[in-house]
Structure formats: C-alpha cells, structure tokens
C-alpha cells in the first residue's frame, strides 16, 4: 500500500511538472519551433563540402601582430603537411594537417584544450588548408572560437616571427 501511495504521489508530481513544462513552453511562443541547427558530421565532410557550407559564417581573421599579443593564450594549429611542420612552425603550434583532420576528428582524438581560442594557419593568405581545418574544428567544437591567421606562415616569417623546427635559426 505504501508503495502504491508513493507511486501515486510521484505520478502526481510528474504530472504537475509536465503541466508546468507545457505552460512554460506555451508562454514562450516566440521561441523558434525548429530545433537549433545540428552541426554537420565533420567526419563526412570533404574539402569541397566543408568549404561549400553556404550558411556557415566566415571564420574570423587575426593579424600576425595581434596573434603575438595573444600568445600563448590561444591554441595555434598548423594545417600544413607534417613535413612542412617539421621543417619549421610557429612556436607552440600543434600539427593538424588538413589531409588528416577528418580522421583525427572521427577518432575523437583532438589534442586541443576546450577553453581557448584556436588559430589555424597554412602557407599563405587565403590558403585552403587553414580554412578547411578551421571549418572542421569549428564544426567539431561548435564554439565559434576558431580564427584563421591572415597571411599564414608566410606573413609570420615576414614579420620576423620566431620559429621552431629543423630550419630553426640559432
């Protein structure tokens, strides 16, 4: 009997909460009645598909000078090939080659902290690799915190930026 009474009381509370929930929904008819857009599956994206996401906002840009002021508070991602990365890269950068990014995301093995902005770069300004890796990370992490380095590695070198790697000077 006691269990029956408990079940009845619990159901009563549940029904009360259900009523309040429906009321709270009804009170917000301004809420869009379509669910928030789902991020596309990053693993299913090829280069063209990722770049062709028509309604995806452009990734923000950051200049070399501004990047310097924000280091080391941001995660820098090198989207070039592993060979290029080994030759030389921006100090502290993580290598996530565009050719491998899908597999890395699919394996859920992104070696990135969750709480910092991410700056991607490749060889030059407007480079496909930095954009592609940036989009893939943006879709995978979904936090609007991916930025592309203006001018890429070329601009970094032109700004007398220090590098790490096999070609490191000094």
């Amino acid at each position: 009997m006691a269990l029956l009474a408990l079940a009845r009381d619990t159901v009563l509370l549940g029904v009360g909460a259900l009523g309040l929930g429906v009321a709270s929904l009804a009170a917000r008819l301004d809420v869009p009645w379509t669910p928030p857009p789902a991020p596309p599956e990053p693993a299913a994206c090829g280069v063209d598909e990722a770049l062709a996401v028509a309604d995806a906002p452009d990734l923000a840009r950051i200049a070399v000078a501004e990047l310097r002021t924000r280091m080391p508070g941001v995660v820098i991602v090198d989207a070039r090939s592993t060979e290029a990365f080994v030759d030389g890269h921006i100090p502290g950068a993580v290598s996530l080659p565009a050719a491998d990014i899908d597999a890395i995301i699919a394996n859920e093995s992104l070696p990135l902290p969750v709480d910092r902005d991410i700056v991607t770069y490749c060889d030059r300004d407007g480079g496909v690799d930095a954009e592609y890796v940036g989009r893939a990370l943006d879709l995978a992490l979904g936090c609007d915190r991916v930025i592309v380095l203006e001018g890429g590695y070329t601009a970094w070198l032109a700004g007398d930026g220090a590098i790490e790697g096999a070609l490191q000077s000094g």
Partner: protein
C-alpha cells in the same frame, strides 16, 4: 535529514532556474549529448527544470509523503543524469554539461560531474529518511 533536504533542494533550484529561463540554450546543451531526437529537445528542456523545481519543493514539504515522492522524482532524474554522463564519458564526447544552465565558464562533462551526481543521489536518499522515523507514529484519528 533537514540539511540533506535543504542541500538537495537548493542544488536543484539553483540548477533549474537558469535552464527554465534559457530554454533554447538548454535545448542546445541537450542536443550535444547526442542521445535524444530533435523533436524532443524543447519538450525535455521545458520539463526537466520543472521536474527539478517541483521535486525540490516537494522535498521541502512538511508532509513526509510528498518528501518521499519528491525524492523519487529527483532521484530518478539524478539516475538519468548519471546514466547520460556515463554514456558521454564512454563515447568520449567533449561537451558543456549544461547542468546549471549556460555558464560563462563552461563545465565539461567528466568524472567530477559523475561523482557530484552520485553524491547528490546520496543526499536525496538521506533526505528521504522520515524525520520522525524513530518516534512511534501517532494513532490515526
């Protein structure tokens, strides 16, 4: 017992208010768990905070029957949270827990979240113990 009731009820009220206030944000958080169909997101986002509020109110009731029912509601919710968190950890998904609504400092789901919910479950169990359990019940009129 009262401390457990107060503590558990306060936790759920603090968790429920921001979620009830930001229904869309909470729906997005629920989506990130990748465990529910899209059509159910708003319904869950609307009902879960209400279950938390109603359960918390019942837990603070002076009538033991409502305290027990509130405990069952909140305990059931917490068990569901634990199962979800365990599944998220198992699937290796990195997401903001959304437990206390959208926060400036996103709280990633992980073992601390799971342990916190297990502790909360313990507090609810303690809260459900009748306050006057040791005393003989008065004769019914």
């Amino acid at each position: 017992m009262w401390a457990a009731r107060l503590g558990a009820a306060a936790t759920f009220v603090v968790a429920a208010v921001p979620k009830a206030d930001d229904l869309v944000g909470f729906a997005e958080d629920i989506r990130n768990y990748q465990a529910f169909p899209d059509w159910s997101l708003y319904a869950i986002a609307a009902i879960v905070p209400m279950l938390e509020l109603v359960g918390a109110a019942a837990l603070l009731s002076t009538r033991e029957r409502w305290v027990r029912a509130g405990g069952v509601v909140l305990g059931g919710l917490t068990l569901a949270f634990i199962a979800l968190i365990a599944s998220v950890i198992g699937r290796g998904i990195d997401l903001d827990c959304g437990c206390f609504g959208k926060q400036a400092e996103a709280e990633a789901v992980g073992w601390p979240t799971l342990l916190r919910d297990v502790a909360l479950l313990g507090a609810i169990a303690v809260a459900m113990v009748p306050v006057r359990a040791a005393k003989p019940s008065p004769p019914s009129p």
